[in-house]
């Protein structure tokens, strides 16, 4: 497989491969980020950080069903101060680390980004798209072009790091929002966050299982929606897209790239294929590329568009 080259340049960041661990999956500690890197991820994303510490929702917070996963963790995180301590000397991780930053007000995002700015993060990702946490994302009206534009440009002003805006698959006008982010200075779009929310009821308990009742749907169920979002976004914006949603095999990753993604994120598949999923997906991609005459990731991006 010598001539196959999986490396990419994502908004100025050099990655050994295009497979990134999605935010909220194993991104709680520096030690785990390092473990994920050792397991083959081209870059890793930390669990989203807010100004104040958050305990998140009570358990159950994460369950699975026939078609994927349902979660309402509720953005539990130690707050920016503690997080800045946790994520010191990030070069130890071995691959680029992406900081996921959340907030309720525009000022919150600024404070958190500033609080983390002394650390060696390679990029900042801002999810404006959580479907199940009051005060954040969709439930805080951050899923509109205006809010997206305001928050993006505010953060743009205070950091030189590549800025990724993470969008929801729920919103019909996802392209409008992506354009707003692009115009406001975003360097990439991460598409998508979890979908829904959805609900699963235990019929013997006669109650929704998640303590928050509803949660975001991820995994296989989300993939066709995520692929469609990325396919549309590829036509709408010029900045690169990080395709996330239901990717668990090399074929899925290739499909996402052909839809128009320059890199892919993996979350739920860690459950289905273990922490080694990052390496597995890379190997499967290389094999397929070899069999189908592709040498570089670049040749695959957008291949499904005529």
């Amino acid at each position: 497989m010598s001539k196959i080259n999986l490396s990419i340049n994502l908004a100025g960041i050099q990655l050994m491969n295009p497979v990134i661990s999605a935010s909220g999956i194993l991104g709680t500690t520096k030690a785990l980020l390092r473990r994920v890197a050792e397991n083959g991820a081209g870059a890793v994303t930390i669990k989203s950080i807010s100004i104040q510490p958050r305990e998140g929702h009570k358990n159950p917070t994460v369950i699975t069903f026939e078609a994927g996963m349902l979660n309402a963790v509720g953005y539990s995180n130690p707050g920016v101060e503690k997080a800045a301590k946790e994520f010191e000397n990030l070069q130890d991780v071995g691959v680029p680390v992406i900081a996921s930053v959340i907030g309720t007000e525009k000022e919150d995002f600024i404070k958190v980004v500033e609080g983390l700015s002394a650390r060696e993060f390679s990029a900042v990702e801002i999810p404006l798209s959580c479907p199940h946490t009051p005060g954040f994302g969709l439930l805080a009206g951050q899923g509109t072009p205006q809010a997206t534009s305001d928050i993006t440009s505010a953060v743009r002003k205070i950091t030189k790091l590549p800025l990724f805006i993470k969008l929801s698959p729920n919103i019909p006008e996802i392209c409008t929002i992506a354009k707003a982010a692009e115009d406001a200075g975003a360097n990439a779009i991460t598409a998508v966050n979890s979908m829904g929310p959805g609900m699963i009821i235990n019929i013997e308990a006669r109650r929704p299982i998640l303590s928050f009742q509803v949660g975001g749907v991820t995994g296989d169920a989300l993939r066709p929606i995520a692929i469609r979002c990325v396919y549309d976004l590829y036509k709408a914006v010029k900045i690169p897209i990080i395709g996330v949603g239901g990717i668990s095999t090399g074929r899925h990753a290739i499909e996402m790239l052909m839809a128009g993604a320059s890199a892919v994120g993996i979350g739920t598949a860690v459950y289905y294929r273990g922490i080694g999923v990052f390496k597995k997906v890379c190997e499967e991609m290389s094999l397929w590329m070899q069999e189908n005459g592709f040498d570089t990731i670049h040749e695959i991006v957008g291949a499904a568009h005529d």
Binding site: P60, T64, V73, N77, I275
Partner: protein, 253 residues
């Protein structure tokens, strides 16, 4: 696999001590000593517990009254239903001529080891006071200790283990209890060149290795553990020192 709780009916409750009750229910479960399950009390919360009794489909969970969840658990009556999912995690690697060292409720995950190994195991069980000692009628000739000496050896399980090691050797030591105690048991075993397996406790969310909540120096206690051997623990700086709160903050344990 679908990770959702199955509702089971509590069919029996046993008072093990003033603060520990064992709740019994019937369920087909492929459980190995060391693993754990997540117990759901609808509208309240879901938390990890080990299985302390298993005979066919009769399963028992011993619960120490400690805070909000376990207090609510103790209010459950025969006939009430609770949710259970799992089992999760790695098992103990069982070997005859071994020793289990259980501190307080830490005896619970070791109880099924004793059932499996039968006589081939020495049981060291300690607690602060006599009333907190568990499973006295269940296991004959346990080597007991209490800090006030009211029952058995006067001192900690570590002190007692040290005493016993002076005259006796074991293939392996299995231990569970307060993490400071576990740390010292591991040290002791290292000094005596005895293999040691430890069951750790961390706050958990998913229980199946995706959320990262239960991290201990890069190891996910829910899926890489909860059982770790001395060699693995030697690479985990957080062991005996740091645990992670619900909010993801590092705190001393």
């Amino acid at each position: 696999m679908i990770e959702q709780p199955t509702m089971v009916k509590i069919c029996d409750i046993r008072e093990e001590s003033p603060n520990v009750k064992t709740f019994f229910f019937r369920l087909q479960l492929h459980f190995d000593p060391g693993q754990f399950v997540m117990i759901w009390i609808p509208l309240l919360d879901e938390k990890p517990f080990t299985i302390s009794y298993i005979q066919g489909d009769l399963i028992g969970i011993s619960v120490l009254k400690r805070g909000i969840f376990t207090n609510a658990f103790h209010l459950k009556r025969v006939g009430d239903i609770i949710g259970i999912r799992g089992p999760y995690g790695r098992k103990f690697n069982l070997q005859a001529d071994s020793c289990v060292v259980g501190g307080g409720i830490g005896m619970a995950p070791l109880a099924t080891i004793v059932d499996r190994l039968r006589n081939g195991v020495t049981i060291i069980h300690g607690a602060r006071t006599a009333s907190e000692i568990l499973y006295q009628n269940r296991f004959k000739n346990m080597r007991l200790c209490t800090e006030d000496g009211a029952l058995g050896f006067k001192g900690t399980t570590v002190d007692l283990l040290k005493e016993i090691l002076k005259k006796q050797r074991f293939q392996k030591v299995y231990t569970c209890g307060p993490e400071k105690m576990l740390y010292r048991v591991v040290e002791l075993c290292r000094d005596y060149g005895i293999e040691c397996e430890v069951s750790l406790e961390r706050y958990m969310k998913c229980g199946f290795g995706v959320c990262g909540q239960c991290d201990c120096s890069g190891q996910r206690v829910c899926i890489d553990g909860p059982v770790f051997n001395a060699e693995e623990l030697s690479k985990m700086e957080d062991f005996g020192r740091v645990t992670i709160t619900k909010a993801g903050e590092r705190v001393l344990c």
